[in-house]
Symmetry: C3
Subunit: 172 residues, 3 copies
Amino acid sequence: MTSLGAVLVLGGARSGKSAFAERLVTETGLSRHYIATGRAWDEEMQERIAHHREDRGDSWVTHEEPLDLISCLQALDSESNAVLVDCLTLWVTNLMMDDRDVATEANRLVDCVGSLKARVVFVSNEVGLGIVPENRMAREFRDHAGRLHQKVAAVANEVYFIAAGLPLKMKG
Amino acid sequence: MTSLGAVLVLGGARSGKSAFAERLVTETGLSRHYIATGRAWDEEMQERIAHHREDRGDSWVTHEEPLDLISCLQALDSESNAVLVDCLTLWVTNLMMDDRDVATEANRLVDCVGSLKARVVFVSNEVGLGIVPENRMAREFRDHAGRLHQKVAAVANEVYFIAAGLPLKMKG
Amino acid sequence: MTSLGAVLVLGGARSGKSAFAERLVTETGLSRHYIATGRAWDEEMQERIAHHREDRGDSWVTHEEPLDLISCLQALDSESNAVLVDCLTLWVTNLMMDDRDVATEANRLVDCVGSLKARVVFVSNEVGLGIVPENRMAREFRDHAGRLHQKVAAVANEVYFIAAGLPLKMKG
């Protein structure tokens, strides 16, 4: 099953992926919702989150949801909504920290995406193109993220890879 | 010289590059051979290898060859064979561990590829898109892998970059 | 404002981005200038710089300029010149080491690029596609580099992403 309304925007750090995803949501003309999965663990993270929120401006409803992304998407499921999820990699991090089964959650997310009426744009970091990390947890994170991207890309109707603010369309 | 039958499939960790390469081999309708260059150093690696083997199913002949990839390709060289090499980056790792001259081996591989009658699909990890590694050996590995990718891409007739399970055709 | 003559060539380590950029400059038929931003801190870096210089051959004028890239570009600004800047990521590193405000310098560079009469080809490393670095300075570097790439890509008339020596055109 391919969702008519799901988009995956992949890119590196500071690649402009969030700004691109925000434009996709804005262009729909629908009510804009932003699900922030990041947790403000420390000052640096707080600054990054505040910076993103400032960039978006006032016309968005922000929902902070580090873990229960699926419930949050279901609560926002309406044909009049466009939802930006920023980002899947932070969600994976939070699931791992909380000892949840990431593969199960990933499958639940993909099942949910297939039946949503809202338009959903997922932003995620591609993290698998560097040297193998020495840290086992980082390797597991990288594996979880890569597998989740494959699953979401399979049900998405559009997939973009962003570099230097420019999109490469990989699907759609 | 460009080999009519060589393909290079580049991608990050868990990008779906092996699955894509397996589909390319299967579509040829030829006898399927799988050259596994990975060494099962530890339990984690053993699990990864077993997982890959299970995913492939029974219709493949598996050859474990950490170092003498070229001899193995030559032994399988027949118009009725399609050979998947998974992966070049592990081969580079093994050559480095064994104190072989990677540049010389890379040149020998490329010479060999140009004259093969079998179809060959090389899978490899793109590892050069993260921060410069602090470890000198990791930097050397990254350099060897990058140079080898350029050489193989130059003689391949098709090159793909895979992200989230989706191929971007870069050559062919 | 989009510069008619600026090109950004992004790629990973040993992706063949410098060789591709050199071909772009050579094809212009203009006088070839090479601005090397790298500093020869240690023997490894000296070897890399010497290796690059040898690869280019004698038909280039080399300018070593770790910090004042903008002045150097302005001094070379003529319709008869083609200038290769190799690379932006080393320039960012040098600005950070020298405690300069990278964002300000990035904005000055982009303003300058928009008004140049010379053709300019910028080479830069994409460094944001691996795991988040544990080191805060590395994270800052990655952020600075990513933001600079977005800014330069916005004013460039062509942008390429290079892997395995092969270009993907992202803009132009």
